[in-house]
Symmetry: D3
Subunit: 242 residues, 6 copies
């Protein structure tokens, strides 16, 4: 079996260069530019002292996310969703995924009746925008929570532990970690995995783009994802320690 050769001599189980820049913009309670190679996503966390209707009076807070892509983040320009008047199904799917992933590591009771909005805007896309968004949004959320703690607004952190995400896939028979755009376009199977720092699954979304995949392939992919996410969690902690 021949092995697919990646750009820049990257190994099949190797992440792209990951850079996490905190404080990228000045107004938000958390503002993180995260880069997975050429993919660049700006993740901001905004704290609002009220909750959506379904949480009012519950004593619990809420964590939610929105996702967007600048029109020319992509190789060819795509329509601006605000001008078209609606978000695509893909956008909604991604922002729902980010929101669920963040809530999986939040104790909403401990957050109190307030909302953390995570806005993930793709400045430049080269595959893996949703996994970069989740990984960066966690760091932005941690920064926002730290501000709330420092201000004494909440007595203890509502964050239960880190969460990060990575894509894996099979391209020309080779299981790969952290697909870039050309790999993503060529892959038979594409899986996005969200895991906690403890190595447990929050979300697994696998899709056969071409041929259906076997249980053995799935096992290989989950193993790769596990490795990648462990590395991302370390990078998140390093960024937060700065």
């Amino acid at each position: 079996m021949t092995t697919f050769t990646r750009n820049n001599g990257r190994a099949a189980d190797q992440l792209r260069a990951v850079r996490i820049t905190r404080g990228f913009t000045i107004h938000a309670e958390g503002s993180v530019l995260i880069e997975f190679g050429d993919t660049r996503v700006l993740c901001t966390a905004s704290v609002e002292e009220k909750v959506p209707p379904h949480k009012r009076g519950s004593g619990e807070g809420w964590v939610t996310a929105e996702y967007g892509m600048l029109p020319r983040a992509t190789h060819t320009r795509s329509d601006r969703e605000a001008a078209r008047g609606k978000q695509s199904g893909r956008t909604q799917e991604i922002q729902r995924l980010i929101g669920r992933s963040m809530r999986a590591v939040f104790d909403l009771k401990a957050l109190g009746e307030r909302t953390i909005h995570l806005d993930c805007d793709v400045l430049q896309a080269d595959g893996g925008t949703r996994t970069a968004a989740i990984t960066g949004a966690f760091v932005a959320a941690q920064d926002a929570v730290n501000k709330l703690l420092a201000a004494g607004t909440i007595p203890a952190s509502p964050i239960l532990g880190p969460v990060a995400a990575i894509s894996v896939g099979i391209v020309q028979g080779t299981p790969l970690l952290d697909l870039e755009y050309t790999e993503d376009s060529a892959c038979d199977t594409d899986m996005n995995v969200v895991m906690t720092g403890a190595g447990h699954f929050v979300e697994v979304q696998g899709t056969a783009e071409g041929a259906a995949f076997t249980r053995a392939e799935m096992d290989l992919l989950l193993g790769l994802a596990d490795k990648g996410i462990q590395e991302l969690v370390v990078l998140q902690q390093q960024a937060l320690a700065k």
Copy 2:
């Protein structure tokens, strides 16, 4: 470890009563009422002799799906999406999933430049509407293809094999097959699995509603799903043989 007790003495690895009624309505090329217990979904397949813009002139066809829920399919009435003026994120996510699942078993070249629209409308909901929709839509699609073959419109079937779907989840520590509504509401982990008749994965979508889940739990769930889908594929074939 205590085991969760299901309604009607159902075993943890047991499907609900599945009924597949072909020809439920008269106009569509394929019209199937599928029931998973109290969940009832009407799946129709409509053949249209044209394709969407991205397929024009390609010689290939297209298979797409739409999903809806009657306002009072649910325990309490939900808003009518047509009146609200947009489909929810959940609806779009589900109809995209159904569409991808169907295309996974279609040779679009062999279909020729025509579209099969699969409309999956939930008449009554009790959990598992998306998996019932996929399982029923396949039967409706097969009926529509059989009409095209009978009419000589296409020389050979574009269907590569059966596809079906089931939900699995962990409720109070017990892995369960084919969740009904009360189980779905109570579960920590919820997974929807779409597989081919050959036992390969088309889609795996697992979500931790409560605590994140382990690899061991995931393995148990995938095993349960595999068993359920093999049974569904048999039921599809029996229905088509009538």
Copy 3:
């Protein structure tokens, strides 16, 4: 004058086979599948313990209706209104008609500050969907009211009497009762009539599709409608007596 010959030897003044199935779905307070020949409409009545803004604090309730058609209820597939993002003028016209017809037999004071939502969804269309919807919605509303009475929520029925509807029209010079689709398409004059059990008019909507119609023709059509509605009211009562 030659007479138009109807399908299945139906007489000019004869209704199609009417079937009224109560309890068609399990969640709604009233759930009726009504069939006028091949036209099949699912009518559900949902009770909500609040009223729209214009009735708040009035001590009165509200009765309202929504209407929809599954995309493949018709001979050729029509667009899904939820996907298109708005209800057609025709849909709005019909649901306003159903709502007014129901309110004509309701004492809103006696209903108390609650709303009955009537959802009429066409599963299969063959002409006369709005008249079937009105006729079936009344039965669903009666079932919902009976539940409120049985629960002691209201002391006396707010329903003043039955209401039903039928279409009449002139096809090739022959006045016909209860038009099916092919007749409806061919008719010069089309009239929908809504009447109470006492034989009074709630709504009369006549339209000249081809030539304008005379007073004499109108008188014939109103007579036919009166006959048909008297029969429908009997069928409603028989269904409710089961």
Copy 4:
């Protein structure tokens, strides 16, 4: 039986003062301000040298209408539909009615592949806006057709004869012709009738706002409407003769 007393000593079977001003604005091919008492509607007819998709290549033309109400045409300001982003069900119902009424007196073949757009905008409302709109739109349409004839664009008039409309209703037991706003608000039964110059019905839309109405009442109302429409047709012809 006591009789309802109308404003300004108007008899029960008397129209309000009707004024028809042709050439009210300068750009449109037909531009008519029609007044029924204090109700004032500007009706313009615009000729466009193309047809909507369903008529393309048919050799036939199309006649269509749109209806609007200025926000402060009414006693209290109503929302601007353009700002709200959609036309109400009432607006759509009315504009569909105007369109059907106009098409009833048009030979679309003789019109040729062009469209006449009738825009009916209510400047001031005091009941009967839709019937004033139909009556005025006919005059505007005739002016536009006369321009086409004068220019030699069409060899013969596609207009088969006049059409006009009036409202009738029963207020406190008294059948009244041409309801003004206070009467319309108080009436038990409200009927809009559209008839040709030959005295045939194009549309009859009767609604019981309060109690259902009897056949005898209906007969009285249709008689009143017939009288009123005959008078309106004379007024249309007088206006066109100027």
Copy 5:
């Protein structure tokens, strides 16, 4: 330098015939038809005893404007914004301009917590619709305020002074006051100026449609605008004195 010749022998610094008709419709607190030559705009002022959310509890009122154009106000029919489902960017720009211009001469504190809605609807367009709208809206607003004063609802007028607007532009090298449509279409530079009765600027919006314009040209245009607005303010006062 040759001078551009205007229609009807109008001088370069001359306004078109301006007519201001108060009480044009009967329901609004202020209702003014303003005509700048063939441009005719109906401006109504409606008083509502509540304020938008951002003013609630502030003790201050609000003044806001909406603008619309009847479909056949123009040479060729334009789409109805209510039917298209949204207001164009141009419409929004204009109504924001009218609202700001009116608020510039209102003491919102003195108005008290109520809203004045100014609806400016173009019945006929021939250039300068936004400047006619502002000039007419002021008169309508004054009439509405006078009603509030007369009723004792407010003790003193919240209006600080008059405001009016005019367009100026350079056509074929000639600076012109009050452009009509053919001049507007041909001009290189188009400027709308809003000024108070005291001769101060409220808004200046200049746009180079063709070549960019010099400071000297701008000075000429501002001078012309000043002259025109002084004349308009006199005409407003004369109309209000009637």
Copy 6:
């Protein structure tokens, strides 16, 4: 007269620190991050080889702009326009202004039948986003044009000269150049000026936020703007020379 003191000892007639970073993202034909102090706008230019309908077959190209603001570009989070389903009036006003400003320095004939889309997305806002957008969009457009020239797609540059924009305003009686957010909020008069490199006006938009402004004040502001724009044009050329 006391003079308003600016942050960081900035003089009244001094621009904030301006930084222009070309090639900020990799996919667009032109990609410029422009910073006016803390205001940061990403301007991309995308070339598309087709034109909108009104230019088809004309031999001319088109230049158009869209504007957006990331939700947390501002001090408090604002709604995402894509999620709300429409662009605000302010957004539309700004993107129309940017488009007109760019077209003022483009020879659309020389561009040929292609479109340049300028997307201006505000990453961080501190006043003057629209003027930064125009100034940066010009540099992005120049980069895109240079690519077309280098590729031989067009023989000569369609750009007639530079264009840039700046805001000026009067705060507490002091005329200021290049307002930052706190100044913008406090100012009585706010003017945005767009000028060519030759010192001619493309757009002047002055608004009295508080008191109306005099001709003398306007003259002072226009002088300040002129000075600022001359400096910006130099900075644009320096950036392009790198």
